[in-house]
């Protein structure tokens, strides 16, 4: 689906938050084009050894489920209720106060009541009551319980792949019920009977085999990085060698593969390369661990572990001291909250210390992986970088907090500090839409595919409108973020809702501003667009 085929923004933004007359249990999911993702190709399921590989479409009447699909799901639920306190508790304690209801970007943008986090959770909770609680077994619908039918399963598929696991609802819930956790369980269950989407499983299968989501093979990755280094040389005049799989390097650098694959991520990658060159960092990329992102997070806890394992394994093989991670959102949820638990302890690494400033990253002393904005903020604070922010004066920047760094890490100030030092014109979006209250891009958790474009644009509406606000108020023309999925999904979102605003990684801004030893006279920014001359700049 392309932007041209969609209704006009004025049409799409006409959303009614009024629920329908019919009760929600009587309204099965309707698979409207533009609001769901294609099913996973059998080859990807086979690569990963997942259940029930077959050709099917979510819009088909027959989903070709295994004969005993209901038993599989119920057994799967039982196991997960026993393994996850979060799951059991979140099934039990919701009081349906409705505080979460209008906090979901998909609800705000679609008005579909099943996108209220509380109701999305009830889709699963109603089945939990029916099969796992006495009152549900006895009282049935009176207790909010219902049978697990094919229609219910389809509804799960529709709505659990209409949640980006952004956790915004969770900060408003008086009990901290986290829809991301419920969606993760729902998707795990769906995976048990082979109901999954290709936009998640193809990257996961690629990542398993080639080390990255995009299926880039080692020589291809070298070409891409060399190409990016060549762009740096053309625009900045500094030659950079990109180290790959180099044993004995001090630091392993892992970033989402999208950063060296497509614009505007590649500009962010230019920023990384320039920064590392300028400070003389002893580091290496890896082709085997060439993906920071982890689409296991959108599949199952087991898949998180299977894909994440390569990062520590590669750090061990190369003999590095610690790991540095690039700009990515869900990647950092996995690295911060899951990696050490799943694949640690990282006792073969050292506690991270910046070789340039000597700063010990105490907050990463167990996992031994540092976020690039923590690393760069420390460099700037210690005056190790020469920055000329006026080189970004043609940009009026706002910052989109990515869901996971804000709500699963609390990484709020580091990127802001870096942006403020690299740019003169920085403006915050309204308070209700940033930091821990940030809105999703609408395409996270594996939903950033084109057949789902209408739903992405709907889900991205709250974010887009906040950008529109600062565009109108402050003339903002650049939306900065620290997430590769954002860099892929925000550009069409901006094109549709807020034309004239481009998307950038934070390290692209750093690259623009970085004064490098031996650089030529910088006439353009990293995108090859004219850079403001010295006299034009003025501070605000």
């Amino acid at each position: 689906m392309s932007l041209a085929k969609l209704p006009k923004p004025e049409e799409l933004s006409k959303v009614s938050l009024q629920p329908p007359a019919k009760g929600w249990m009587e309204n099965p999911a309707e698979f409207k084009p533009g609001t769901w993702c294609y099913s996973a190709a059998p080859k990807n399921l086979k690569t990963l050894g997942l259940s029930n590989p077959r050709e099917w479409k979510p819009s088909d009447a027959d989903w070709k489920l295994p004969e005993n699909w209901r038993e599989i799901i119920l057994q799967g639920m039982k196991e997960r209720l026993e393994r996850f306190r979060s799951f059991r508790l979140f099934m039990d304690i919701c009081v349906r106060c409705g505080a979460c209801a209008d906090k979901c970007h998909f609800y705000i943008g679609s008005g579909d009541p099943k996108n209220m986090p509380v109701l999305r959770a009830e889709l699963l909770r109603s089945v939990y009551r029916r099969y796992f609680t006495r009152s549900g077994r006895l009282l049935g619908k009176m207790a909010g319980a219902r049978d697990l039918t094919v229609d219910v399963l389809k509804e799960w598929f529709y709505y659990f792949y209409q949640c980006t696991e952004c956790r915004r609802c969770s900060i408003f819930c008086p009990y901290g019920i986290d829809q991301a956790e419920i969606t993760m369980m729902g998707r795990e269950l769906l995976n048990l009977v082979g109901c999954n989407i290709n936009w998640v499983l193809e990257p996961a299968a690629n990542c398993f085999r080639t080390g990255n989501h995009l299926g880039i093979q080692p020589h291809g990755m070298k070409d891409m990085l060399d190409f990016i280094a060549q762009d740096v040389e053309d625009r900045v005049g500094v030659h950079i060698e990109v180290p790959l799989n180099r044993k004995g390097a001090e630091i392993l650098f892992v970033t989402p593969s999208a950063d060296f694959f497509a614009d505007p991520g590649t500009y962010t990658c230019m920023g990384y390369l320039m920064l590392f060159k300028e400070i003389g960092l002893d580091y290496t990329f890896s082709t085997y661990a060439s993906e920071g992102g982890n689409f296991g997070l959108f599949t199952s806890h087991e898949m998180i572990k299977r894909l994440n394992a390569k990062i520590y394994a590669e750090a061990k093989r190369l003999g590095v001291k610690w790991i540095l991670g690039g700009e990515c959102g869900h990647m950092w949820r996995v690295l911060h909250q899951y990696m050490d638990t799943l694949n640690g302890p990282a006792d073969f690494l050292e506690e991270p210390v910046s070789p340039i400033t000597g700063t010990k990253f105490e907050n990463a002393k167990s996992t031994r992986m540092v976020h690039i904005t923590e690393f760069t903020a420390d460099l700037i604070w210690n005056n190790k970088l020469k920055l000329a922010p006026r080189r970004n004066d043609h940009l009026r920047v706002t910052f989109h907090d990515s869901c996971n760094p804000s709500r699963a890490m609390g990484l709020l100030e580091e990127p802001r500090y870096v942006i403020r030092k690299a740019c003169n014109h920085f403006y915050e979006m309204p308070e209700e839409t940033i930091r821990e209250k940030t809105f999703c891009c609408g395409g996270g958790a594996g939903l950033g595919t084109d057949e789902n474009l209408e739903m992405r644009l709907r889900g991205g509406l709250p974010r887009a409108m906040a950008v529109k606000h600062v565009k109108e108020k402050h003339g903002v023309n650049r939306l900065a973020c620290i997430c590769a999925i954002d860099r892929a999904t925000l550009p069409p979102l901006m094109e549709y809702w807020v034309p004239g605003v481009e998307v950038t990684g934070v390290h692209e801004l750093v690259g623009n501003a970085l004064v490098m030893k031996g650089e030529k006279k910088r006439e353009t920014d990293l995108r090859g667009e004219p850079q403001p001359a010295k006299e034009e700049s003025k501070n605000v």
């Binding site: 004025e10 933004s13 304690i93 106060c97 505080a99 009541p113 901290g176 087991e302 638990t341």
Partner: protein, 329 residues
Amino acid sequence: MNLGVSFAAVILVIVIALGGVAGIGAYSLFGIIIPYAAFIVFLVGVTYRIVVWAKSPVPFRIPTTCGQQKSLPWIKSDPLESPHNTPGVIGRMVLEVLFFRSLFRNSKVELREGKPIYGGAKWLWLAGLAFHWSFLIIVLRHLRFFFDPVPAGINLLAALDGLFEIGVPTLFLTDALFLISVTYLFLRRLAIPCLRYISLPADYFPLLLILAIGLSGFLMRHVYKVDLYKVKELALGWVRFQPQIPEGIGWIFYLHLFLVSVLLAYFPMSKLVHMGGVFLSPTRNLANDNRMRRHVNPWNYPVKVHTYEEYEDEFRDKMKAAGIPVEKE
């Protein structure tokens, strides 16, 4: 329909109590056996629920962070919204349990010409806080029936609660707050369309039941007055395990008592267990120190991975051709 069912259920409870006491005079049943049974169901049920939760493992440390993490020393971290140690977590939980911190964040979205506008929505927080606090104080006040002599703290609480000395007997402030807030919470459920859409009988029933408890208590204190000395005699009998029914306590007392008994028995199997659950919520009661301290998953198991050796075996020639170092030449 969900509302109708709940309403009918509460009416049925009231009819049973009135029929049982005023009708057939089953005082021992409604004054001793049912209250004891209900209390036991409550204790055993709630304990069971909490034990099941507490015994479920917490495989991952998944706090939702609502503030700046602790990272570089010169960046001010938020010890309560993103706590990195136990005192911080305790602080966060205190704010959550006693002051409903998360609910205080509540906002309301309206779409105006396609633009979401975020307005304040503190009423839910205020009513929730008023309801829970006044409920707690009312329960504590009731302890005066169970102690002889009454502990000074409880007398003080009652004195403060009746500070304004409106009417005879004094109107307790918490009684008024309680009735107003429960009514608000009930009407809110009916009036807000999306809330009505998600509401189950299990949402209306406890509200109506609690409202009936409050009203019957209010009527007993201010309209159909009963002899409180006799009520205390009965309560002390329960506590001393020598329960006896004193003569002449009015029917309204038994109605009130039966409603409370139903609430106690219903509690463990309902959403009301959120009272215990909130303490165990992994997104709130864990520190955001994930990269500082390793969290152990008790059921972490080995998984099938694609090893570097397998990877190099597939791509060795291409790697060598591209000048990428390999393990085996």
